[in-house]
């Protein structure tokens, strides 16, 4: 940490210690020490964008009266946290637990980073260990970047490369859906840190009693590879009605692969991929 950053961090802590956890001005407030801070995880191992972890920040009001409490999270720019602040009303004796996801964008150097959580006079530092992704026969699991044209809330890009290809788990964060609805095409992309040589893509779309393939499943898509001349289509699927489809093509070197979707069955509203594997 350079001097400027250290100075900023110190300044933040001073502000936090003097201004956070103030009682609601409309109520008689207890001392700041009435709020206790704890964080569930002592250390947090993660391996990148799609293998992050979760801290659970707990704020407990041990004072006799309700307060509005704040917790500030600070982390190096190398880590991604969707939130850096938690503010909440705390009745006397009440504990609020807030999960905070921690991930590392593609290309984050491996090593140990620190997430600090500060509330009033309390500060908890959690080491976050970023490790290289484990080698896998499934090239999708070792992508350094997973991205898409858009994503629907609850259906993140990481859901389609999490190793869970069970369509019955659709709706529980284990698949990807685009965020647009009835707008085509959409795309879903894997980028590797260096050249890979894929020859086979297996795509699982939805197919369960609640989400039958005929109504919600993906129908038409292309498999494309990045080349020096741009994206090149190496396989195309049209009129699909199956839950799982494997496309094969001549093995070749590439740094990225994407699925371009053109239509879905039935409602024809969204792209739904439960799992994508590449070998």
């Amino acid at each position: 940490m350079d001097r400027t950053r250290a100075h900023r961090a110190a300044a933040l802590l001073v502000i936090a210690a003097t201004a956070l956890c103030g009682p609601a001005p409309a109520t008689a407030g207890p001392s700041r020490s009435g709020v206790r801070l704890s964080v569930d995880r002592a250390t947090l191992p993660i391996t990148g964008q799609c293998n992050g972890g979760e801290l659970r920040v707990r704020l407990t009001n041990r004072g006799p009266a309700p307060v509005y409490a704040d917790a500030v999270l600070t982390a190096p720019a190398a880590l991604h946290l969707p939130r850096r602040l938690i503010s909440t009303w705390l009745p006397a004796g009440y504990t609020r637990t807030v999960p905070v996801a921690v991930s590392a964008p593609a290309g984050t150097p491996t090593g140990t980073y620190t997430v600090s959580v500060t509330s009033g006079e309390h500060r908890v530092a959690v080491p976050v260990v970023v490790s290289p992704a484990r080698p896998s026969a499934d090239l999708a699991r070792s992508a350094v970047r997973v991205s898409a044209s858009s994503s629907r809330t609850g259906f993140p890009v990481c859901g389609a490369v999490d190793g869970d290809a069970d369509p019955a788990h659709w709706g529980h964060g284990t698949g990807w859906a685009d965020g647009t609805g009835r707008q085509w095409p959409d795309w879903y992309e894997l980028t590797w840190s260096g050249p890979r040589q894929p020859a086979r893509v297996t795509l699982t779309t939805v197919g369960s009693a609640q989400f039958p393939t005929a109504r919600y499943g993906l129908r038409d898509w292309d498999v494309q590879l990045a080349t020096a001349a741009g994206w090149r289509t190496v396989a195309a699927v049209r009129g699909n009605t199956a839950v799982t489809v494997t496309s094969t093509f001549p093995r070749q070197r590439t740094g990225a692969l994407r699925i371009v979707t053109h239509a879905a069955n039935g409602l024809n509203d969204q792209s739904r991929i439960v799992e994508l594997s590449v070998s």
Binding site: I15, A16, T18, A19, L20, G22, A24, P25, A26, T27, P66, Y68, D70, P82, R83, R84, L85, I86, S87, T88, W89, L90, P91, Y94, R96, V98, S150, S151, R152, T153, G154, G179, T180, G181, Q183
Partner: protein, 532 residues
């Protein structure tokens, strides 16, 4: 001309600003709702970039005053608007002219971090029934100018009251073009009837706005249940230029519905499976953010999970508006909520949508007001609304699910000439006659209801649907139904109500034109809507 940006030196509360632009005119009698206290750490310097990104607003007009509102947020999509945990002095002015040559009141309030850097100024000492212009300044930054209007004197006999009815503005469902047109209307006040924000996740492109320039951070995809996230949600909504224009044009009188907290909640009962105590904490966070982000007075400021939002506003002897809260005190929805047929519990007199105290306050106020017109500014459709079947399916979340309370209100309305119910919630325009027994269409109406469609919720919409056509056939008291977006523009004169249903052809892109889809009138002494 705007003053040049000038980093403020050390804070001097109440110091006169440079260049005389904000010279104090008259005694600063305003009551700043967030006075400086020793607990507020003051920032050493003004925000470096424009902190007035969320616009200005005024609300709850009285004959001698109005609430002025703004919130500092130089980076509105960040926690605390990009500001540190420190307070900022904010100077305010209110003038009789838009050039601020005749400043009538001015002062300094504090935008405190504890209140999300919002500013509420309860200005008093104004003249009744007059237009005023107001603005704020902090450091070298000057806010946009807002226009507002005080209510007529209590003893005055105004010839007319002009107002609009708006509700339900899901950011993710479309653009707020309706407000661009509303801002150009000639109105005394705007009634906003709930669902100012939606608690659902917003994608980086703003849902169906598909605005790639928006680039919302993924914090907007988190479930909204803490104060910081509710504050950010208001910041997103209030950053919309059309919404800002409508707030800057007129004073607003607001109430909430469910989405300001959580879809279809009932008092302390959440819709979703979370413990009741956790839900009350969520409600407290939501109520706090609501107060911070609206032009409301201190009596409305929440205490924990409770907030007194129901209140009355009087417009001379012409009208009194009873602003209702049908969420905070209601009994849980009958028969498991949703559309139900033959649900006996909906008639249970022990169940209430207003709660005993608010219902007593309302009925007493209706009986006492003595104005030509009585306005009930509230959320849910009061007229019976059938959804097919025999017996008919009825929505347990509406007044249909709380029939005992409805009977009491309509029995009172039968004795109080000129009762007009204003409604939001359903994203549909309806014009309805209200009868104590909806099964007897030959009985005279005792009041009328104007159900205003959504500003954006539901997307583009259509002029009609098979369901709406069926509802019209099943319910003679429903005189009009339309499922496009827009608002209702109304005029009350001494003896006549006129309602113009203003609709847009689309909201999935900006720039929609507006037309008047239908107009209705009703006579004060013989209630009943007929085409104008």
């Amino acid at each position: 001309m705007l003053p040049p940006h000038r980093p403020a030196p050390a804070v001097r509360i109440g110091a006169l600003p440079r260049r005389g632009l904000f010279a104090l005119g008259g005694a600063a009698l305003a009551v700043a709702l967030a006075p400086v206290t020793t607990r507020t750490a003051m920032a050493a310097a003004a925000p470096r970039s424009d902190p007035f990104t969320l616009g200005v607003a005024s609300g709850d007009p009285l004959p001698d005053g109005v609430v002025l509102w703004t919130r500092l947020a130089p980076r509105p999509l960040e926690p605390l608007g990009g500001l540190p945990f420190a307070g900022y002095p904010v100077q305010w002015q209110i003038a009789a002219d838009p050039a601020f040559r005749r400043v009538v009141r001015a002062g300094t309030a504090t935008a405190r971090a504890e209140y999300g850097h919002s500013v509420h100024v309860d200005v008093r000492g104004l003249r009744p029934g007059h237009d005023y212009y107001y603005r704020f300044r902090t450091g070298g930054h000057l806010s946009p100018t807002g226009r507002t209007r005080t209510a007529p004197a209590v003893s005055a006999s105004p010839r007319a009251l002009r107002f609009a009815v708006a509700s339900c503005q899901a950011y993710t469902d479309g653009y707020f073009s309706a407000y661009r047109h509303l801002a150009a209307e000639d109105l005394d006040v705007v009634f906003f009837l709930g669902d100012y924000i939606y608690e659902n996740a917003v994608t980086s492109v703003g849902g169906n706005r598909f605005d790639p320039a928006l680039r919302l951070p993924d914090a907007f995809e988190l479930p909204v249940d803490t104060l910081d996230l509710y504050r950010m949600r208001y910041a997103l909504y209030r950053s919309d230029p059309d919404l800002q224009a409508a707030h800057a044009a007129f004073p607003w009188v607001l109430t909430w519905d469910d989405h300001e907290v959580q879809d279809n909640y009932a008092a302390g009962v959440p819709r979703f499976d979370i413990p009741a105590r956790d839900f009350l904490v969520q409600r407290a966070n939501a109520y706090r953010a609501y107060w911070e982000n609206q032009p409301l007075r201190r009596p409305q400021q929440p205490s924990g999970a409770g907030m007194r939002l129901h209140r009355r506003l009087r417009f001379g002897d012409l009208a009194e508006a009873h602003v209702l809260d049908t969420r905070q005190y209601r009994s849980d929805q009958a028969c498991g909520d949703g559309l139900r047929a033959g649900c006996a519990d909906r008639d249970d007199p022990r169940r209430s949508v207003l709660g005993d105290a608010q219902r007593g306050w309302l009925l007493d106020g209706m009986n006492r007001s003595g104005t030509r017109w009585t306005i009930l500014a509230q959320q849910m459709m009061m007229a019976e609304c059938r959804y097919g079947g025999d017996p008919a399916l009825l929505d347990m979340d509406k007044w249909d699910g709380y029939a005992a309370d409805r009977r009491k209100v309509l029995a009172t309305a039968a004795r109080v000439p000129g009762t007009v119910v204003l409604t939001g919630d359903v994203h549909i325009n309806y014009a309805a006659d209200l009868r104590p027994d909806f099964g007897r269409p030959s009985a005279p109406a005792v009041a009328v209801e104007l159900v205003g469609t959504s500003v954006s919720s539901g997307g583009n919409g259509t002029d009609s649907t098979p369901r709406l056509d069926q509802q019209r056939r099943d319910s003679p008291h429903l005189l009009f139904a339309n499922a496009q977006r827009g608002y209702v523009r109304c005029t009350l004169t001494r003896s006549t109500l006129r309602a113009d249903y203003r609709t847009l052809p689309f909201v999935n892109r900006p720039g929609a034109p507006i037309t008047t889809r239908a107009s209705f009138v009703s006579d004060r002494d013989r209630p009943g809507l007929s085409p104008a």
